[in-house]
């Protein structure tokens, strides 16, 4: 079922005969292949339409590079467009924020917030900062235990007050505790929630208001389907996210959600989670190239581009 896009395009162009210029008919047929490939990779439909439109405009009349066959030329355009859409790997941005800088982890239930919070703390420590964790999920059973266990495991200071206080108060007091501990970055782990849950989204707004975060990272599962657009838009509209963390990238999902979320929010993807273990190896800077190849289902992309 998952024939690579490159193969698919090659078949299409072989059928068409393939001249030295990419014609309108070539492009029309090729775009059907692209659309299919993107949908199979879980890119959300509105984003697919938009993307295909842009590739079409660039491809019609494109001169075929002398070392490339027409289908390769189109693949090259698609790849470039994909890279542009995914954007550069985003970096954490603490400018305009005073120490300790606050990072809020937000997202749907089970997306990987708590795990990513601990990994991010390790990452920051390696960068020479003094990270600090705050356990503000009082809803999920043993969520506090989970964060505390991880904090102890990797030796990061933390703040918790069990589950009897309100998350907004815990966040605020956690920030104070971090100041007293001379921490430079405070990571607040919040409970998973649906973007349509008004009460819980209001709670996030309140935590934001009281802790003034430099970064609000939306943690999203790489296996997410068409829902990606609603999730990203929902969180962004309510709390204004500043970055995305894509988790479970060690799976074999094609990861179209990354493209969908990036496209609808314009917010950069900053990190990828690539394993359950809390370690620096499983928390990577986002690689647009790798995700682009994956969404397009082609491992041979780089060789092709290098030819041109």
């Amino acid at each position: 079922m998952f024939e690579s896009l490159s193969q698919r395009l090659q078949n299409t162009f072989d059928r068409l005969g393939g001249g030295r210029v990419v014609t309108e008919q070539d492009v029309k047929d090729a775009m059907r292949d692209v659309r299919m490939a993107l949908l199979e990779a879980d890119v959300a439909l509105p984003i697919v339409k938009d993307f295909v439109g842009r590739v079409r405009d660039r491809a019609i009349g494109a001169e075929v590079h002398k070392t490339l066959r027409p289908h390769e030329q189109v693949v090259k355009i698609i790849h470039e467009e994909m890279r542009d859409t995914l954007g550069e790997a985003g970096r954490l941005n603490f400018s305009g924020s005073t120490k300790p800088h606050v990072i809020m982890m937000v997202g749907l239930q089970g997306s990987g917030k708590t795990t990513s919070a601990a990994k991010l703390a390790m990452y920051l420590r390696k960068e020479g900062r003094q990270p600090f964790l705050v356990a503000a999920d009082t809803y999920r059973p043993a969520a506090v235990d989970q964060l505390v266990t991880l904090a102890k495991q990797v030796n990061i200071p933390y703040y918790e007050e069990g589950v009897s206080a309100k998350p907004t108060d815990i966040a605020k007091r956690g920030l104070e505790a971090a100041k007293n501990a001379d921490a430079s970055v405070v990571i607040i782990d919040t409970a998973g929630r649906l973007q349509i849950d008004d009460q819980l989204m209001t709670e996030l707004e309140e935590i934001k208001r009281r802790t003034n975060p430099a970064e609000i990272l939306l943690v999203a599962d790489a296996m997410t389907g068409q829902e990606a657009v609603n999730i990203a838009t929902g969180f962004n509209e309510r709390v204004g996210i500043t970055g995305l963390v894509l988790t479970k990238v060690d799976g074999d999902a094609r990861g179209g959600a990354a493209l969908s979320m990036r496209a609808v929010t314009g917010v950069p993807i900053k990190f990828m989670g690539t394993g359950e273990k809390i370690s620096l190896e499983t928390f990577e800077q986002f690689h647009p190239e790798r995700i682009a190849d994956r969404i397009l289902g082609m491992g041979d992309m780089m060789t092709l581009i290098e030819k041109a």
């Binding site: 749907l108 059973p141 043993a142 989970q146 296996m223 997410t224 479970k248 074999d252 959600a257």
Partner: protein, 299 residues
């Protein structure tokens, strides 16, 4: 079934508006099919299922001389009903001890679903026990223990990091000794493409079969309702490793539509048994094909 409606109502609104508005009452034309296709894709049905349903609809409308969009409703629903089987009763009665093994990828909702199942069966008068087979994830044991207390069912656990097979073995012994008639086993989340972890799951399964020859009597795969096409691979791989007998789809209380159920069911053949509609202990309902489909495509 009030809760089913409540949980799916948001799903319904978002699709209802679109489909009924879109279909209206006009002549069926290319746009009708395009709009339907878009709706199916956005409900995560996937390209293959979408094609299958559309082809069927086109054939049927041609054969039956249907020309108006408002006549499509019935045909559409029936074609979707036909793609799913109603869940048969769980195979957990008629013996001293029945065992349910719960499997799935990370964070899909396994532990929470176990709490909901335990609560449900306990209320039905069963003597339920839980096994904390996730010894890997931080505080996974405490999570299950907290749920066990809330549901009022005992949890058999060992230390974090201990061998899950050993915990499972102990739990079966304990269940037999204490005359439990239903044991539900939690396992650590694992991605289906992780060879070692899938082997570990096979081993856990073997421990169960050794202790109780015809067990596990049910192997339920928990799928996150917001998952897209990857659900199909999850279904295939977990079925290969553990012989999945049923599915639980969680998190359908949001706006996710769970359309990937169709292809997973077609591929794996295991029926959807339950749907998760929230984080509370009562937020689990039996899967009902008609309600699910009607909820998705209410006109």
């Amino acid at each position: 079934m009030g809760i089913f409606k409540r949980g799916l109502s948001r799903t319904r609104q978002s699709l209802v508006g679109r489909i009924s508005q879109m279909l209206g009452n006009t002549e069926i034309d290319e746009d009708t099919w395009d709009d339907l296709e878009a709706s199916f894709i956005q409900a995560d049905l996937g390209l293959e299922t979408t094609e299958t349903v559309l082809d069927y609809l086109k054939e049927t409308t041609a054969r039956e001389g249907i020309t108006r969009t408002n006549q499509l409703d019935k045909v559409l629903k029936e074609s979707l009903y036909a793609l799913l089987d109603p869940p048969p009763p769980l195979n957990i009665t008629g013996r001293d001890l029945s065992i349910i093994l719960i499997v799935g990828v990370n964070g899909s909702g396994k532990t929470t679903s176990i709490a909901k199942l335990a609560n449900r069966f306990k209320k039905e008068g069963r003597n339920v026990m839980l096994a904390a087979g996730d010894t890997f994830r931080a505080a996974a044991i405490e999570q299950l223990q907290t749920w066990g207390e809330r549901a009022g069912v005992p949890v058999i656990a060992n230390k974090p990091g201990s061998d899950p097979g050993a915990v499972v073995y102990d739990a079966i012994q304990a269940a037999q000794a204490r005359n439990a008639d239903l044991l539900i086993i939690d396992t650590a989340g694992r991605l289906h493409n992780n060879y070692n972890l899938m082997r570990e799951l096979e081993k856990i399964r073997n421990v169960i079969s050794k202790a109780v020859p015809d067990a596990p009597h049910e192997v339920l795969l928990v799928l996150d309702g917001t998952t897209g096409q990857n659900a199909l691979k999850q279904g295939q791989k977990f079925a290969e490793a553990t012989n999945v007998t049923g599915l639980i789809i969680t998190k359908l209380d949001g706006t996710a539509r769970g359309g990937m159920i169709f292809s997973v069911f077609t591929e794996v053949g295991a029926p959807v048994q339950f749907i998760g509609l929230g984080e509370g202990i009562d937020d689990l309902v039996r899967f009902d094909v008609k309600q699910f489909v009607d909820g998705l495509f209410e006109f």
